[in-house]
Every structure is written in C-alpha cells, then in structure tokens.
C-alpha cells in the first residue's frame, strides 16, 4: 500500500491532470486537421491560422461585451462560427476547384493562405498582444493532492474535451452526413454516381474541421497571450499528432494528442531542463514501431 502511494505522488498526479487539459486543446485542433485530411485529402497548413483567428475573434467578441463572463461565453460560440464562415468562403471560392490537384500543390496553396492570413490578422487586429480575461467562475485554482494547485479553467477544459469528442463521434458515425463523408473519402466518384452532391459534403466537412480550429483558439485564448505567430507553434504539433495517430483518423488524433500532452507534462516532471524533447521522442518511437501511425489511416 505504501509502495503504491509513493509511486502515485501528488506531483505525478497533478502533472497528469495538467497534461490532460493540454491534450484537450491539441485534440480539438488536431481532430479538425485530421477530419479534413481524411475526407478531403488536404494537408491544411492554414489550420493554425484559423486557430489564431479564433483566438483573436474571441478577444474582439469578449471586449465588445465588456470583457466579462457574458463576453467569454458568447466568444466561445461566436469565434468558432466566425472561423467557420471564413472557411466556407475559402472552400466555395477556392478549394472546390482544386481537389483534383497534386498534394504538393495543395500544401503550397494552403501555406500561401496561411501567410496571407498572418498579414491580414496584423492589419485587422494590429501587432499588440491581446488578452482574453478568464471568466469569474474559472478564476483562481483548486488545491489537489498535497496542496498542489490546479487552475479552475483547466477543469473546464477537461470537461470540454470529452464533450467535443462525443459530439464528433455522433457526427461521424450516427449522422447521414458522417456516413456519406466516410464513403466519399473512400470513393468519391461512386458517391457522386449514386446521386449525392459530393461538393457540398466536402464543404460541410471542411467547415466543421475549421470550426474545430476556431474552437481550439477560443478555448486557449484565456490562458495565453493572443498574438501573431501563435499559429506556427501549433500547426507543427497538430501535424505530428495527426501523423502518429494515423492520417485522417479522428480517434488517432485523440490518441496522438494524449501521447503528446502526457509525455510533455510528465517529461517536465522527470527532467525539467529537457522537458521539450519528450513529446518528440515519443513521436519518433511511435513512427519507428508503426510508421503509418497508431490507428488505421484512411489514406
């Protein structure tokens, strides 16, 4: 008994919880990336930009409503919708003509859009750092295990993760839309041949994927400084998670995000000076053992 207790030290448990709350953001963003990758076959480099725009929009909405609690909740709904609208315009205006192109070209194209978005964000919101206040209910922290603090906002994140995962599961497996999109991913022409408007299925999936990026941005906004450049750090992690999870597999994204979030927070506990390297080591290990990712890739 004593042995078990010493192993499950307060610091260890606290790091796991903190790691899980980080996992939530990574999962929400990576699942959107994976969805688009799986169904549309687009490696969406500007997914990170949409996450950044989600955070900036949540700042604008929060400020417009006085920076209080109402502002936060409205931002949480409004920012993802705003991002979804932007993505709808991009999909209808540009992408629907490009699905047949080569992957390399699509990567370059989405990369170009990410650069354009970077400058647009600066034009619209300026270069100053922005900050979204944490709502009253989630301010401060709760003391857990041996008095170690756990931010209340992170408990909210821990709640949001399963909610989003469940909603995605419903969407993909229980709705007609989800089933069509799964079929379209496998054989696009066949789906079109049975009289389904594939173009709109793709648009819907794309918009939902981008909505998740916006939601990730809105959720992360109160915990960080909303600033230009927040897209770059995230998109790399997003792609790594999608790759180790299995391209296009949403549950792979969940698994990848868990691995990434937990190895990071536990790595910090073990060796804080080199905490950075642990998630990347995990990526290498996974790719050595299963080069195509942990779960079945849809590619």
């Amino acid at each position: 008994m004593d042995f078990i207790y010493s192993f499950i030290s307060p610091g260890f448990l606290s790091q796991i919880l903190v790691g899980l709350s980080r996992t939530v953001i990574l999962f929400i963003v990576a699942s959107g990336l994976s969805l688009i990758l799986g169904v549309l076959r687009i490696p969406n480099v500007f997914h990170g930009s949409l996450y950044m725009i989600g955070a900036f929009m949540s700042y604008t909405i929060s400020v417009a409503f006085g920076g209080g609690d109402t502002g936060f909740w409205l931002a949480l709904i409004g920012a993802p919708i705003g991002v979804a609208l932007i993505s709808l315009v991009i999909e209808r205006g540009l992408f629907q003509y490009l699905y047949e192109r080569e992957h390399l070209m699509l990567i370059l194209f989405t990369f170009a859009i990410s650069l354009v978005f970077g400058d647009l964000v600066k034009l619209v919101w300026g270069a100053e750092y922005k900050s979204v206040p944490v709502p009253q209910v989630f301010q401060g922290f709760v003391s857990l295990f041996g008095g170690l603090p756990f931010p209340k906002y992170n408990t909210f994140l821990l709640f949001m993760g399963p909610v989003v995962a469940f909603a995605l599961w419903l969407l993909v497996t229980k709705t007609k839309m989800g089933k069509i999109s799964q079929a379209a991913a496998v054989d696009r022409e066949m789906v079109g041949a049975v009289g389904i408007n594939v173009s709109w299925v793709f648009a819907t999936v794309f918009v939902i994927g981008c909505l998740l990026a916006g939601l990730g941005g809105a959720l992360v906004a109160p915990t960080v400084s909303v600033t230009l450049g927040m897209d770059h750090s995230l998109i790399m992690e997003g792609f790594l998670i999608v790759i180790i999870g299995g391209l296009g597999n949403i549950w792979g994204a969940l698994l990848g995000a868990l691995i990434f979030g937990l190895t990071q927070s536990l790595g910090i506990l073990i060796w804080p000076q080199f905490g950075i390297v642990f998630p990347y080591c995990a990526v290498i290990v996974v790719l050595l053992i299963r080069p195509t990712g942990l779960l079945k890739s849809t590619w």
């Binding site: 610091g11 750092y129 900050s131 206040p133 960080v224 230009l228 450049g229």
Partner: protein, 405 residues
Amino acid sequence: MKKTTFFLVFAVLFAGCFILSHTASAANTIKVGIVDTFSGPASTYTLDVLDGFKLAIEKINAKGGVLGKKIEYTTRDEKFKPDIGAAMAKELVLKENVDILMGTINSGTALAVSEFARKEKIPFFVTYSKSEKIIGEKGHRYVFNMNENTEMAGRAAAVALAKKPFVKYWIAGDDYEYGHAIADAVWNNLKRLNPKVQQVGQSWWKVGEPDLTPYITQIMAAKPDFIIVATGGASMVNFQKAAKATGLSQKIPFYQHTGTELGTLLSQGKDAPEGVYGTSNFLFYFPDTPANKAFVDEFQKAYKRYPKASAIVGYMTGQFIAEGFKKAGKVDKEAFINALEGLKIDSPVGPLAIRACDHQLELPTYFGITKKDTKYPFLVSTENQIIAPKDYMPTCEEVLKHRKK
C-alpha cells in the same frame, strides 16, 4: 542598327539611374535607413521604436533640421530573417544612399548588419536587440547600442536581488539564445554578489509554447524560494497568465526582465498577477519628471497610446543623430562618430551619455514590483528602485576584453 539602338537606350537608362541616384545623395537631407522586423509578433515593439524615432525627427525638422538639413528615413521589413536584413541594409546604403543605418529587434540581423556597417564604414544604431555581442565580441567603431543588453539587464537584476533574503533559486525560460543569456547573466552576477544563493533546478520550454502550466506546477512542487524567469516576447504574458491561474504569483515570487513593463502588462489589463519582480529601462509614469511627462504627452498626442520602453529607444536615437551632427559641425561620418563618443543629451529620462570606449548608451534600469493602480486600466511597476548605470554596467575593460585584437 538594331544593336546600336538597343545600346543607346541602355546607355540612356543607365545614365538616368546614375543621375537620379546622384541627385538623391546630393539632396539637402540626412538619410536614415531603418531595417527592422515590422511583421509578426516582434512588431509590437518595433513599431514603437519607429514611432518614437519619428516623433524625435519631426521635432528636429520643424526647427529647421540639423546643419540646415532635414532628417529623412526609409524603412525595410526584414521579417525576422538575418540574411534578408543584411541584404536590405546593403540595398539601403548602395541604392538609397542612406548616411546612417538603424535597427533591429533581431540579434542575428543586428550582428549581420553590424558586420556590413563595419566594412562600409556606415554608422549603425542598434535599437532593440539585446545581444551583448553587439558591442562586446563583435563590437567596432561604427556600431552603437541604444538599449540595454542581456548582460546589463542581468547585472541590474542581480544588484537588486542580491539584497533579498531568497536562497533557493529555480531558473526557467524560453529555450533560445535570449532566454539562456538573460538567465546566465542574472545567475552569474547574483552568485558573485551573494555567494549564499543556491540553484535547485531549471526548466526550459520551447519558444512559443502556449501553455506553461505544466512547467509551473512542477516548479511549485519543488518549492524554491524564488524563480528567475527568462522569457521574451509573447511568452512574458503566457508565463504571467499561467502564474496567475495556478496561484504561483502569491506563493513563490519570480523575476522577469521587462516583466514590469507596459509591453507585458498592457494587454492583460487588471488580470495581470501582482507581486511580479521586474526590470525595465523605461516607464512612462516613472520617474515623474517634467521631461518624462513632456515626452509621454507628445507621444500620446501623436499616436493615442502610451509609449512602451522601445519608444524611448527610437526617440533617443533620433536625438543622438541630431546632436551628433550638430557637435560634428558637418555631415561627415567619421566626425559624426567622434562627436558621438561621450556625447551627453537631455533625454526624457534625464541626461544620458554614449560611453566612448564601447559605444553603449548609459541608461538607468528600474527594478520594481507589479501592482494594481486606480489611475490606469492595467498594472504598473511600484516600489521602483533606480539602478544607476555606474552600479550595473560592465566596465570598459570587461566589455573590450571580448573583442579580438
């Protein structure tokens, strides 16, 4: 026949270019070329440098300029890339015929441009990069450092921290050159000034890491007395937000260079943590002197915002350029540099001089603690302690020993 026509057209065009560029250089102006990062997250600082500089030269030009010449400037955005920055500096000198170079927030670019300035013998004012190599190891006659560097910031913090009762220190920061340089400077000087201090651990996270909570919870579990936090840019705010959310700021005090500065505190509004120790080289509300007030009022009137620390760097660079030429009495680069060495001006924060030996501006540092203030919608630095240049600047010998003979 065709060939001759082609040749003639080419010759005319070529001559045209020559004449145009010639008139440009003969125009009655002193041209300053500014290479800096005007895009991306760094622009929150660089735009203040530029606006501060504009304010200074507009004032000088309104009074008829210097030596009867107006000061003009051209800007180039190097997008945080040293190779592009160096190419732009070259272009500014060779095509735009600028007399003086100025910039940048990126240490890599500053060093690359500095190397070019040395070869071309063009005076170069470094405005917001913090590498100590600029005037140390890579210093030369044509480069001037107009803000503090990591060694100076670290020493100033160490002077103040050495008097505090903390013993067990933890070091944490952004895992890049600036983070390590600041951390080393604080720690090495602190150890020298107070041999009792001990280091109990270190954490380093990657630049741009959004959520620092896991690092903070781990440090809190280790229970140090004090944390030296070596962050820069947006990470300053990320750390403070995570410190507030985890309650770190109430339990374990920590220090951040520029942690008390407007650039870090403005965006967080009233939500920033109180009790953060920080050093800054400019606060728009301290010291409360008429000169500082006048500068802040002018800046606010022109740009409808409070000036950040980088604004005064730009402003003073403008002042030094004008005063330097005035003292030299002619537009001659060598005479200008001789004039700048040891030159003292009346800046908004009091009389300041450029040290002759290494071309470092001697500026004071303010050590303070963040606190809410009813006068402003954001936190301010309180209990400010002025650390005078003589108390914390490395001596001429210490700086010059790094330079190769």
